[in-house]
């Protein structure tokens, strides 16, 4: 038992002077005899007993995820076309630290890029949200959904369709719009690149700008962007 008492003196300069004062023999004796420290501890536990418990009974009451929570992945469905916003640029796959995103693309009829497969291995993902930050169009997002435990490994292999389903289930409507505005805001909307630099732009942007696409040779009909 430490028989000292801290005295904190604050003077005009705002500096706290902390000194220790030895308490007297009788005071320390009284402290020892009446177990002052143990009594203080017991008072603390008794007062805590009447406070509201912090426990949340999980399956019964669920905590609302905080805004910007990084949960299950989704591919944003473009409300105009009803298809994924993803253009298959592969930036998300390139930045992914655990290399869990696979993208397979091919050339379409009008020489545009078509995303054939977009796959995420959830068991390897570390939810860093780099893919969301890297995406120029806000096409891949992390939803607030976090209860997706399952019994098979296959259930954690997300394909393009399941990722689009995730969007419809968890982020469709004003919530998704709010998130796109505040958390997943694509860089395209805030930063401009010089005109002469080649950038990825959605289809609508391409048609509005007089930028002719570079004709692709016959050997590159099935371009593949993959990390493996």
């Amino acid at each position: 038992m430490d028989a000292t008492e801290e005295i904190i003196v604050s003077n005009d300069t705002g500096v706290k002077v902390v000194s220790r004062k030895e308490i007297g023999f009788f005071a320390s004796l009284l402290r020892r005899v009446f177990f002052l420290e143990i009594l203080q501890g017991m008072k603390l536990t008794l007062t805590t007993a009447f406070k509201k418990p912090v426990t949340q009974q999980y399956p019964k009451e669920k905590r609302q995820a905080k805004q910007g929570f990084r949960g299950l992945h989704a591919l944003v469905r473009d409300p105009a076309t009803g298809k994924a916003k993803c253009v298959g640029c592969g930036l998300c796959a390139a930045i992914c630290p655990s290399r869990c995103i696979n993208i397979f693309t091919s050339e379409g009829d009008n020489h545009e890029k078509v995303v054939d497969r977009y796959e995420i291995e959830l068991l390897r993902c570390l939810y860093c949200s780099f893919c969301v930050e890297a995406c120029p169009f806000g096409a891949v997002v992390l939803t607030e959904h976090y209860e997706y435990s399952d019994y098979s490994r296959e259930a954690f292999f997300m394909t393009k369709d399941t990722l689009l389903d995730n969007w419809d289930k968890y982020m469709e409507g004003p919530k998704g719009r709010y998130y796109l505005e505040h958390f997943w805001r694509p860089k395209l909307e805030d930063f401009c690149t010089p005109h002469e630099q080649a950038i990825f732009k959605p289809k609508a942007a391409i048609t509005s700008e007089p930028l002719s696409p570079v004709p692709i040779t016959a050997t590159g009909t099935a371009g593949e962007v993959s990390n493996e």
């Binding site: 536990t45 805590t48 007993a49 426990t55």
Partner: protein, 347 residues
Amino acid sequence: MNIGSAIELKGLLWDIGVIIFKIAIVLAAVMGHVAYATYFERKVIARMQMRLGPMIVGPYGILQPIADGIKSFFKEDIIPANADKPIFFMAPVFGLMAALTTLAVIPFYDGFIISNINIGLLFIFAMSSLGVYGIILAGWASNSKYSFLGSLRCSAQVISYEVSLGLSLVGVMLMAGSLNLTDIVHAQQRYPGGLYIIPQFIGFFTFVVSAIAETNRTPFDLPEAETELVAGFFTEYSGMRFALFFMAEYTGMIVMSSVAVLCYLGGWTLPPFILKLLPFLAAVPGIVWFVLKLYACIFFYYWIRATLPRYRYDQLMSIGWKVLIPLSLVNVVITALMKLWFTNSHV
């Protein structure tokens, strides 16, 4: 066979029937209390740590002890290959037997006692010392270093604290002039204060500390220190045998609390000054006061457990030998001198 001996036989059978009935009631009541003592311990400690405690089985988890009992009954009974099997089987039974036998001499209210013997307190000491055999045998028979260390600690601890436990109650014995627990309560009723805790506060303090050590509860739970010894002496036990140790520990807690209530807190009676102030309280049956005081004591056990960390082994020994035993010896001397002085002045 003549008529007289037939009547005698009938009376004997009646007595035996009454005793068996009493034993059944006491056992059922105490076992129910043991089961729900675990539940309330979990609840009280949970609330003191801002948790909820058991909530799933039944409303507010009220059926949790029953679920625990069923679970431990149907669990696999694992016996270590190198265990000393007969002793391994016997040890938990031994511990529980010693704890339950003590209940025979505890008067729950005036006249309700299984066996009203004159050496009630001495019998309780003897049986609580015997309960240590269950622990030591369990530790020895398990053939495991954790169990063995736990049981060694337990034997040293209980032997040290047995002394101060006995000495702390000597003051009560001196004041009451009896070892019979019913007589002790009656003597408290005659005493002006109504409670022996007032003159015997030193004895009460040493008794409470030694009782916590004697029942191996926190902060003196070194025999089963789970952070150091896995589970101490019952590391190798599982299923129902483990539950028997658990029951023995909680029965010991109830017995020690009952002794505290009977010897210091007036048992089933209320102090006269409270009865004078609130006369209608005399209509309440004595068992209610006994049980309320018992619950307060058991709550104190939980409260201590929720607050204090475990003492170091040398601290435990120095508290026992350097603080509690001298204190209780001083208490004995003071009580004896006061008694001598008062009785002389009266005569």
